[in-house]
């Protein structure tokens, strides 16, 4: 009579296993710069993912499957990004990968994921040519080329701009890409460029460039810079006695609360563009900003918002894909499902992938008023 007892245990175990099996964890690798100077972008990105994963899992996961994020530091270095990607692909056997933080690292690491038919989803890579690496490369970071023409167009119309000066960081792929777009747009808009000045990453003194620009008396300064440099540039310009009528126009790089925190009142009237902004009054965004700030005791920036949306976009893809348990097949199935994500409603507004797996998202033109970002034009 002992046998049936054992059999019962076995059956129960099988039953348990069977019910447990659909609730498997969906492993996703997150490769971001968490130490080193690039961590100021990588950490908010990780936070955005962590918050979204927590929310999705709290609501029961995706079809009952919880998301398990495996987070690794890649220090903003290309060799480390490759090492982490390989660990995800071959060792942790993740379904997909988010990251890396910099476009430079993406150019080194993404080809490896693409060759192994594993999705790599960038949330902060804005350089041209990222998604051209291959069919498994996606991103939701909106390219500067999609927003800046609108920003310059709106500013020109509303402020009656005729002559501008350009200032950009020439040793950074993000700010250089921004400059390339600005240069094109300024030609299209037939604005006169009085001078084009550059600076290097890590510079703290911009007085020489700004003195030169001030003397040429432009209507506006077009500035492709990351937030800390942008804030310092604006602040130093006003200290040098540049009148407030000379506006600063920038791209994604301006879109952080740090701009006002560092530049203070000097930032007033600065114009930029982005799909997402901190003070967007939509209920979805306000909820995101509130929970994020409560959890990490610092308001989110654009990097955090894009990462947050990215995980939800990935979840849409996972929901739509038919996963079999065979990792190689699932990676391809997910790739096909993800490419079809359309009209996802995120904190940055409606989102779809275009045919190149780039973001097709509407950028909005923003202006800083009373220390807050507000809508200048839809």
């Amino acid at each position: 009579m002992k046998l049936p007892g054992k059999a019962l245990v076995l059956v129960t175990a099988i039953a348990l296993f069977a019910t447990a099996s659909p609730a498997a964890e969906i492993r996703i690798g997150v490769a971001e710069a968490l130490t080193g100077p690039v961590a100021k972008y990588g950490v908010p990105i990780r936070n955005g993912f962590a918050l979204a994963a927590e929310e999705i899992n709290a609501k029961g996961g995706i079809k009952g499957n919880k998301i398990e994020l495996i987070i690794e530091d890649e220090q903003g270095k290309k060799e480390e990004a490759i090492n982490v990607f390989k660990k995800f692909i071959f060792k942790d056997r993740t379904l997909a990968i988010f990251g890396p933080t910099l476009s430079n690292s993406a150019f080194a690491a993404d080809p490896i994921a693409n060759a192994q038919k594993t999705i790599v989803f960038g949330t902060s890579n804005t350089a041209e040519g990222i998604t051209a690496i291959g069919p498994y490369v996606f991103r939701n970071s909106i390219a500067e080329a999609d927003i800046l023409p609108k920003v310059v167009g709106v500013a020109k119309k509303k402020l009656g701009l005729k002559k501008v000066a350009i200032l950009y960081g020439n040793d950074d792929s993000f700010t250089k890409s921004g400059y390339d777009v600005f240069k094109r747009v300024v030609e299209q808009e037939k604005l006169q460029v009085l001078t084009t000045e550059t600076f290097a990453k890590g510079d703290i003194d911009f007085s020489a460039q700004l003195t030169k620009i001030k003397n040429l008396n432009p209507d506006a300064i077009i500035c492709s810079a990351l937030v800390e440099e942008a804030a310092n540039i604006i602040l130093q310009a006003r200290k040098l006695g540049m009148p407030e009528r000379i506006r600063f126009i920038g791209g994604n790089g301006f879109n952080s609360a740090k701009l006002m925190e560092i530049a203070g009142k000097a930032a007033e009237g600065s114009i930029s563009g982005s799909p997402w902004f901190l003070d967007d009054p939509s209920a979805k965004n306000q909820e995101f900003v509130r929970t994020y700030t409560a959890k990490f005791s610092i308001p989110p920036d654009q990097f955090a918002a894009q990462a947050y949306d990215a995980l939800y976009i990935m979840a849409e893809g996972i929901k739509a894909a038919k996963l079999s348990g065979n990792l190689e097949k699932d990676r391809t199935a997910l790739r096909n499902a993800l490419a079809k994500v359309k009209n996802f409603k995120g904190v940055g507004g409606l989102f779809s992938f275009n045919e190149n797996r780039d973001a097709a998202q509407k950028g909005r033109v923003l202006i800083i008023k009373k220390g807050k970002f507000s809508l200048y034009a839809e």
């Binding site: 530091d73 150019f107 080194a108």
Partner: protein, 283 residues
């Protein structure tokens, strides 16, 4: 088992490749250190090699071997040009010259169109195979073993011991120092070419001052009494950040502490006469 080995290999081969490349870089600076000179330009030489080789394979379709040799030859030529006026004099000349040179090279990469400016070159073909690295490292080790007993090697040693005495003895110190510097630049350039063809990307950012200091650290930590020192030093310092991943945000802190303690306890490097003496005493 086979599958496990394969996945382990694919997970860690880039790390292994990086260990070899960093080993070559450490050897490249060892040559200059061996004649008592401090170079802060080996990162820039590596960059020149990386760009030259990548441009040749990408845009001219050159065979990989030719691209690598050209990637070594260009920095070596430039090293001759910088070395001849600066190495004539002793002191900190080379340090300053190479510090300035590093900046000039960085600015040149940023402003030329063939190098892709700040966006760098992406889509460098995957050409580097493990046997390439083994072969180059093998040649280097053979070269350094032979060097020790050669006239050239003895001359470098004499210059390092006492430059004035060496020149009194009739050693053409400047000539030897320039050759050592240029040979180091050649090795760094080849290492850069190899690196570019397994990381698929080169950009001006990677070859700056900080990496020059890293290369110097490889060599000094390992010890510069024999050429094995730099190889050991670079291997340890390349592996360490990966081994310390479990430390999370503080892995660099521990990395720094380990570096500090190794230097304090083995101030002549990990591979040095006193290390072996201690071991022998204990044994």
């Amino acid at each position: 088992m086979g599958e496990f080995l394969a996945s382990t290999w694919y997970t860690y081969n880039t790390l292994l490749y990086t260990i070899f490349v960093n080993g070559m870089l450490a050897l490249s600076i060892y040559l200059t250190l061996a004649c008592g000179q401090l170079s802060l330009g080996n990162a820039a030489f590596m960059g020149m090699g990386a760009y030259t080789a990548a441009i040749l394979t990408m845009k001219a379709g050159a065979p990989f071997g030719i691209a690598l040799i050209a990637g070594g030859a260009l920095p070596a030529l430039v090293a001759l040009i910088i070395g001849i006026p600066t190495l004539r004099l002793s002191g900190v000349y080379l340090a300053m010259a190479t510090l300035g040179f590093g900046e000039v090279v960085r600015v040149a990469f940023l402003n030329m169109s063939i190098t892709g400016g700040s966006l760098g070159l992406n889509g460098v073909p995957a050409k580097t195979e493990f046997w390439h690295l083994l072969l180059v490292m093998g040649i280097l080790i053979y070269f350094f073993v032979k060097l020790k007993s050669s006239r050239f090697g003895r001359a470098l040693e004499a210059i390092n011991e006492d430059e004035t005495a060496a020149s009194v003895m009739g050693i053409r110190t400047t000539l030897f120092k320039v050759w050592a510097f240029a040979a180091g630049a050649f090795i760094a350039g080849v290492a850069g070419g190899l690196n570019a063809h397994f990381t698929f990307f080169v950009s001006p950012r990677e070859y700056g001052f900080e990496f020059a200091v890293d290369i110097l650290t490889f060599a000094i930590l390992g010890g510069t009494q024999t050429f094995w020192g730099p190889i050991v030093g670079s291997t340890i310092l390349t592996l360490l950040p990966e081994l310390l991943r479990f430390m999370g945000p503080y892995r660099l802190a521990l990395n720094g502490l380990i570096l500090l303690f190794v230097v304090i306890y083995l101030p002549n490097g990990i591979v040095s006469r006193d290390t072996f003496k201690k071991k022998a005493d204990r044994g």
